[in-house]
Structure formats: C-alpha cells, structure tokens
C-alpha cells in the first residue's frame, strides 16, 4: 500500500535524477543525493575530457569523413560537404585500402584465436608446480614491456634480429631446408588441398608475433586459474575423473567469464597496433597524399569493422558461456 506523500508518476525517475542537483527539489537533502553529488563531482574530469576530447573530435571526424577538406594556411581548414563520396572513394577507388582492410581483418581473426588458445594453454601449464616457475612467469610477461608502442614496427624492419620469426625467409634465401616450407610442398605434392593448411601454416610462421602479444592474457588466465579451489580437483579425482575430464568439466567452465575480457582486449590491441597495415595506409593517405576527408572516412570504416567484431565476439562468447553454465 503506497504511503501518502509518495508521488509515483511515469516521470518520477527523471525528476528524482535531476532533483539530485536542484536545491529546491524534494530529494535534494537525502543522503543518497549527497553521495550522488559527490560521485558526480569525482567523475566530472572524465565527463569533461570525454566531451571535449572525444565527443567533439568524433563528431568533427564524422563531418570530415563526409566532406572534402582543404587546408587554408594560417587559419585552419575549409570544408565542403560531399556526402558519401569519401566512403565510395575509400572502398572502391582507393588502391590499397580495401585490400589492406581485408588482410588486416583476416590477420586479426587468426591472431586472436591463436592468442586465446595459446595463452590459455600456457596459463594452465604455468599453473602447475615446477622449479623455475616464477622466472618463467616473469619472462613470459616481458613482451608486454618490450613489445609495445613503436617497437613491433621497428622489429619488423630489422629482421636479422628476430631469428625465430625471420628464420623461414633466411633459411630459404640461404638455400637451406625450411621445415614448414618442406611440409607445405609435401602436402601440395600429395594432392591435399592447400587452402586447408594455409591457415595453419600462416599461424606457424607468425608464432613470434603471437607469443609476444599474449603477455597480459596469460596473466589474466593465470589469475583466474588460481581462484579455482584445489578441493574441487581432489573431489573430482576421488570420484574417478581423469585429468582430461577434470580439465573440461572444472577448469574450462570456471575460466569462461575471463575469456570475454581477454577476447575484447586482444581484438582492441590488434586494432591499435602501430604496425597495422591499415593504420599505416591511412597515415600515408593523410600525410603524403594530403587527402584528409578520405582518410577520415577510412578510419571510420576501420573503426566500424572493429566495433562489429567486438560486438560479434561478445555475443558469441556470452552465448557460449550461457550454454556451458547450464
């Protein structure tokens, strides 16, 4: 039964929310309102920064992607609306964009899958007890420090120094026998479809990059593994579970929530790497060719693709986690 004086209209939520800040409203002096005001003040730098340095440039970027820009020296720039001509240019006319976009997305998908699988396996391995465990953990986290920012780009150009990654080309150049190339040739000769194994071979050749990109993921999985109580495994082994069953029935379901976090982080990391083909192409269009409008359109397309992938993978993982937890 509602008490008198308690007004419940359809707009009560809104008026209560606004009334937190309005001194003469009915809920201004409540404790909840006071906390809400303090919280809002704490959060204010982020809101200001977001609106000034992200919202405004975002809107400007959208406007730019739909206009033709010419720089007027001395007082900024001059814009002229051309509708979706820039997008048309980026997708159909521009020489390198669509190709590098497709290649970049393919690489991102394969790398993400490989990184997730590899970091999970490594986390499970490191979780066991063995000598030198702390040292191995420290070394496997090292790429986070040493392979960020500008360094992957430079490492790709100094191939003599990454023996493992560049070994395929080096060995073939010096006339030696390359294991993966030999295997590929053998499979091609024996008549099996090359496309099936193409994916695998591409993964094997890029194992350096995959290992170097999985530092943080390994530690996240490791921390999740450490929260699983040992008593569960003991109970399971008493009931007669083999190690394989223990893994699939205990470890895997309890780690599934962390997979979402890791997957999103991996995709975002892949997209923002500096040695990304698409990024370099956009940079080249922007600075050497001077076409700012098409460059903005290209970066918007790239972002749209990234957001789509993050959304798809979130849906897939949530569905998968829901199914497993039934």
């Amino acid at each position: 039964m509602k008490s008198t004086g308690y007004r419940e209209h359809w707009y009560s939520g809104i008026t209560d929310a606004v009334g937190v800040f309005v001194p003469w409203s009915r809920n201004y002096k409540t404790i909840a309102s006071r906390r809400a005001r303090t919280g809002f003040l704490f959060m204010l730098p982020f809101l200001i920064g977001f609106i000034a340095f992200l919202m405004k440039p975002l809107v400007q970027s959208v406007v730019m992607s739909m206009s033709e820009i010419s720089l007027v020296p001395g007082s900024g720039y001059d814009m002229k609306n051309v509708g979706i001509a820039n997008f048309n240019y980026a997708l159909r006319v521009d020489a390198g964009f669509s190709g590098s976009l497709v290649r970049s997305v393919t690489k991102m998908i394969t790398n993400t899958l490989a990184i997730m699988v590899l970091s999970f396996v490594l986390a499970v391995i490191i979780n066991g007890e063995f000598r030198g465990r702390l040292l191995v953990r420290a070394i496997l986290f090292l790429p986070v420090i040493l392979y960020s920012g500008i360094l992957p780009d430079i490492e790709n150009t100094t191939s003599t120094y990454k023996m493992m990654a560049g070994v395929a080309e080096e060995v073939t150049q010096s006339g030696g026998v390359n294991l993966s190339q030999g295997l590929q040739d053998l499979l091609a000769v024996s008549g099996m479809g090359a496309g099936v194994f193409d994916f695998l071979f591409r993964l094997i050749d890029s194992i350096y990059e995959i290992v170097m990109s999985s530092g943080i993921q390994i530690v996240v999985f490791l921390s999740g593994l450490q929260t699983i109580p040992q008593s569960m495994y003991e109970a399971a082994s008493i009931e007669g579970c083999s190690a394989w069953e223990c893994f699939w029935k205990i470890t895997f379901p309890m780690i599934c929530p962390l997979m979402l976090v890791n997957c999103i982080y991996t995709i975002v990391d892949c997209f923002m790497r500096n040695d990304n083909e698409v990024m370099q192409w956009i940079g080249q269009v922007m600075y050497s060719q001077g076409k700012l409008g098409p460059a903005a359109a290209m970066s918007w397309l790239y972002f749209a693709v990234a957001a789509a992938f993050i959304g798809i993978s979130t849906l897939i993982i949530r569905k998968g986690v829901g199914m497993i937890h039934d």
Binding site: F53, I154, S299
Partner: protein, 333 residues
C-alpha cells in the same frame, strides 16, 4: 603386539606392491615434465633471444659485421656504434625528456583515473550507465580515428571564444605539452580506458562495510576516499603508474602528434633511419659512400636496445607490482 617400523622399501618392491601403477605414474609425470620443460624453454628462448642478439651484435665492429664467420660472438669489440647512435638520437636530452614527460603524464593519468574509477565503483549518480558506456567507447575507439580533428583543434585552440576576445586570435597550442597534459588529466591519455577498468575492478572489491564504518565514525565522502581507500589501494595505483609509464615510454602515436615540440626518444627512434642515411651521406669518403642495410639494422637495433634497457631495469625491480594488478583484476571476475 608392538607394530614393527616399516623398512625403507626399494622402488621395485613398491612398484610390485602397487601392481605396476607406480611405474606408470612416475613415467607419466616425467614425460609431462620433459614436454613442459622443452615447451617453456623454447618460448623463453624466443622471447629473450632478440635481446641477446642485439646486445652481442651491438658491440661488433664493422669488420665483424661483414665477416661471415662471425655469427654472434664478436672478435673486435667496439663502442663506436653506441657513440654514433647516441649522437644521432640526441642522447642525453631525448632520454631525459622522455623520462620526465613519461613520469609527469603517468602521474596525471593515474591521479585522474583513481578519482573517476572510485566514482564509478562506489557511487550511484544520474547518467552513470551512460558514462559507463562512454568508458567502453573510450576503450574501443582507436585514437587514430580522432587524430586529425584533435590535431586541428589544438592548432586553433579556442575555449568558447574566450581566447579570441582576450588575445584577438585563438591559441596555437601545437608544440607545447599543454594539450597532452590536459588530455591525461581528463582520462583521455594513452590506454586510459584499460587503466580505468583495472582500477574500477579493484575498487568494486573493497568491502562496503569499510565505508559504512567510516561513515558511522563521521568521515565525509572525500575523507573516506583519502584516508581509507587510497592507502589500501597504493599497490595497485603503483602498478597502474608503472603500466602507464611503460606504455608512454614506447609510444609513438601520441608523442609524434602531441609532443612534437620535445625530442622524445621514441620520436628520435622513428626518425633514426633518415638521420643515419643523412649522416653517412655527409661523412662519406670516396670509397665508402652510402651505408649498407646491415649497418642500418645494427644501428636501429642499438637504439631499440637503449630504449629497452631502462624498462628492463625498471621491470627487474618492480616485476611483482606489474603482475599484481592484473591478478587482482582477474580474480574479481
């Protein structure tokens, strides 16, 4: 009857008594250890090897570089290459610049991120869900999308027309450090969304009873934050500072766009190739005009090594702090 103490049985005897199970189990464990050792050894080698190769090749002189019989261990040690790279990257200045810029920017970022993360974790206020959506947007949007508008914005910086009325023309903020400091102070710096996320997860894990006890004892909201939350959060704030420092140190995007007035080490590294070619073109004598690709690679590798060494030293001392923050994030899921 007094029980006789067990004699120490041999392995074969124990194996026989268990019906052959002991041998199988020991063999399985040894095999697993062996496979695990090989795998981990290979991975660790893959990660450490570039560092070692770079270091050994960096002290090689030119004869050793072109000598095919010298693979890793140099015969003629020389520090000339270091001297050359130091000169070409404006060494003490750029490294010191990078150090103080990184420290200052990281401080700003962590300061702002702590405040905002505490607000998101412990308070409910209007528009909170919308702002959480903004945080997700902050993590997802690549900074390159906003590169051009931000650059143009800061070229003609004008806050609601104030500067135009006072000075007569908008501010030209293009080489100074103010734009980037402003961005870091408002949670828009490098990878700030990830920092926010880590700190948010930490603050969500602090028990509510602590805050309630503080409230009962008469602490205001701000005082609770400063006197109770912050001291406990110090380890994770330290690790966030380290993360931010490391990301900023090797970052190239934000430094070239927003800090172009300062010689930072990462911008020196990205321009190194051009400078090497320029240097050799200037000092070329008759026979040795131009510079080979191998030499360029050696000098670039030295610059990478010099960039990595401070980070490695930092990592050696603070390795636990780095991992700790992520462990906390993961265990709260």
């Amino acid at each position: 009857m007094i029980k006789q103490p067990q004699k120490h049985l041999s392995f074969a005897e124990r194996n026989r008594r268990s019906g052959g199970y002991l041998l199988k189990r020991r063999a399985g464990e040894t095999a697993v250890s062996l496979v695990r050792a090989v795998l981990l050894l290979g991975l660790c080698f893959m990660i450490i090897q570039p560092l070692i190769t770079r270091f050994l090749k960096s002290v090689m002189s030119s004869e050793d570089l072109y000598d095919n019989t010298v693979i890793l261990l140099p015969r003629n040690l020389t520090l000339d290459n270091y001297r050359l790279v130091f000169e070409l990257t404006d060494m003490p200045v750029s490294l010191l610049n990078t150090a103080w810029i990184c420290a200052m920017i990281s401080l700003c970022q962590v300061f702002c991120a702590t405040l905002v993360a505490y607000a998101f974790a412990r308070f409910t206020f209007p528009l909170k869900k919308l702002c959480l959506g903004f945080v997700v947007l902050l993590i997802i949007i690549p900074p390159q999308t906003l590169q051009v508008p931000l650059y143009l914005n800061f070229m003609n910086y004008d806050l609601f027309g104030i500067f135009k009325t006072i000075l007569g023309h908008p501010l030209q903020l293009h080489g100074s450090i103010i734009p980037y400091t402003l961005m870091s102070l408002t949670c828009m710096g490098i990878k700030n969304g990830v920092l926010l996320f880590i700190l948010m997860e930490y603050f969500k894990g602090v028990p509510v009873s602590l805050e309630e006890a503080a409230y009962v004892d008469g602490c205001s909201n701000v005082r609770t934050f400063v006197r109770i939350m912050l001291p406990d959060a110090f380890p994770i704030i330290a690790s966030c500072f380290l993360f931010s420092f490391v990301w900023q140190w090797t970052d190239e995007f934000y430094t070239t766009n927003f800090l172009s007035g300062y010689t930072t080490y990462s911008s020196a590294m990205s321009g190194l190739r051009g400078r090497i070619l320029g240097y050799y073109a200037e000092t070329a004598t008759g026979a040795a005009s131009g510079v080979s690709g191998v030499k360029i690679q050696q000098l670039t590798a030295i610059s990478v090594l010099v960039c990595c060494v401070p980070l490695l030293v930092l990592y050696c001392f603070t390795q636990k702090t780095f991992v700790q923050s992520i462990v906390m994030t993961g265990s709260k899921e």
